[in-house]
Assembly symmetry: C2
Homo-oligomer: 320 residues x 2
Amino acid sequence: MKQRITDPSQLFEMAVAGDRGALARLLSLIERGGEDARTIARLTYPKSGSGYTVGITGAPGAGKSTLTSATIGHLRSSDTKVAVLAIDPSSPFTGGAILGDRVRMQDHATDAGVFIRSMATRGHLGGLSLATSEAIHLLDAVGCPWILVETVGVGQVEVEIAGKADTTVVVVNPGWGDSVQANKAGLMEIADIFVINKADRKGADETRRDLEQMLDLSDIGHEDWRPPILQTSAVSGEGVSELWNTVLAHREFIMASGKLAQRRSFRLREELRAIVERRLELRAREICTGEKWDGLEQQVLNHTIDPWAAADDMLKGIGA
Amino acid sequence: MKQRITDPSQLFEMAVAGDRGALARLLSLIERGGEDARTIARLTYPKSGSGYTVGITGAPGAGKSTLTSATIGHLRSSDTKVAVLAIDPSSPFTGGAILGDRVRMQDHATDAGVFIRSMATRGHLGGLSLATSEAIHLLDAVGCPWILVETVGVGQVEVEIAGKADTTVVVVNPGWGDSVQANKAGLMEIADIFVINKADRKGADETRRDLEQMLDLSDIGHEDWRPPILQTSAVSGEGVSELWNTVLAHREFIMASGKLAQRRSFRLREELRAIVERRLELRAREICTGEKWDGLEQQVLNHTIDPWAAADDMLKGIGA
């Protein structure tokens, strides 16, 4: 019986040599977020920077997975390698991720040129956001030239995660208004390319006008790149090759204009800040246990002291 | 010309005496989240605990605001005072809250027995979550017997905020599946009462069966309270008085069973932990500036060191 390898350095070497099982295990360690995740970050970070990430985001049911799957098909027709990270929000209460849509990508499950992986949150979205960055560094470091990151663009943090790509594709449907009401502005802000998927449905022209108008009214696209609005039918594959050509055009534009470097350095700053916060959160969790904590908690519950005073008391010790 | 009062203690005294302007200003200070917010927490915390909060949550477009407005109408018909907090997620990019739905509540704008207030995030959702707790303490401390908290139940953090109530009403529509796909499990977990709003639409019976089945399969409702599933048409007011009677029944149940005390003490613990994290985050923001930080950032951008090593270096000083 083969012994299960768990050492991150050894797994990383294997993954660089093309071992998909090792890559999957590294991603599990990143997802778990402990000391191993940190070791992996140290190994991969210096070797990352040459891969290109394309974000695909939108409301649930917009057809992101089908579109991602069709895009994989398009890339594989020219033998281009591609990795997909599907970020799944999960319930804060049950810890279970909803991975239903993943089945749509099983067409590509046996293709050695495609690597597909779902990532879910354990604990909180801040952790998922950081894990997403680290997973991208890893896929990049093992030599994936294209990394597609599929996310649900619903809540604020989810949109933040969706913004981690070099090129971001926002997928909408005819009559999209209601489902993204809460963060239309956020989605507008991160979109480099709009795709009206299921464009054969009623309302596609209206949705296009709606988007054009929002672009006209916003600050977006008054620079050199106005987000184009494409139409696809991901199920039939219509419009998918045009979409990919537009991704390539956007990539060329941000490379030539220096915006790619700007974008990446901004993202890296955010990541660094997230790491500092994460370290402090872990420290908070350490602090918020023990006898002293229990005593203060009881006093707050009795309304003897207020929560801020209790927090002050706990934090005195660590100079924060 | 009257001088604008900004002292939290004075504003609090005025708010207790019934001054709505003072109350609104206090809520703005809480929303801003600075030192004043902390002073307000110190003032209100010891006086809070007698108000009752009812959360109303669901996907965008489910009719939460209309239902809230109809509930206000029902309460006012028996001259019951009520306060409404409408929590609006805003874009992380533009900082602008989307308050469109608030117009539906303007029927009650001139009624002295009703206090309505929107709260949005400036910065991050963690801050909004804390501000929501503090706003509830304040409304409670100034003597609001009923506090309705309306939230959009989309992302994970949003659902977390929705869980801050004593009784939580989850509003769904016929054919709700798609719009909440990402966090159905989270919504199931926090629901004390389900409302199928727009129940005159096609698919209401199917939605009810769907909910019943999910309740059967889950751990929920195997205790003494199984979340009832009501039907309303908020626009016509149908089912609204039944909804309120069910809220009262749930309240009676959790008071008698000791679950209300449990729930509140759990929430208070979470709040305390959030305050500790918040303090540490503020400390992180202080740390992540200055010459040393700029230098480390540059080294990370040059790939000379990895982000974790840089964070370690910054945090050494504060014992975290």
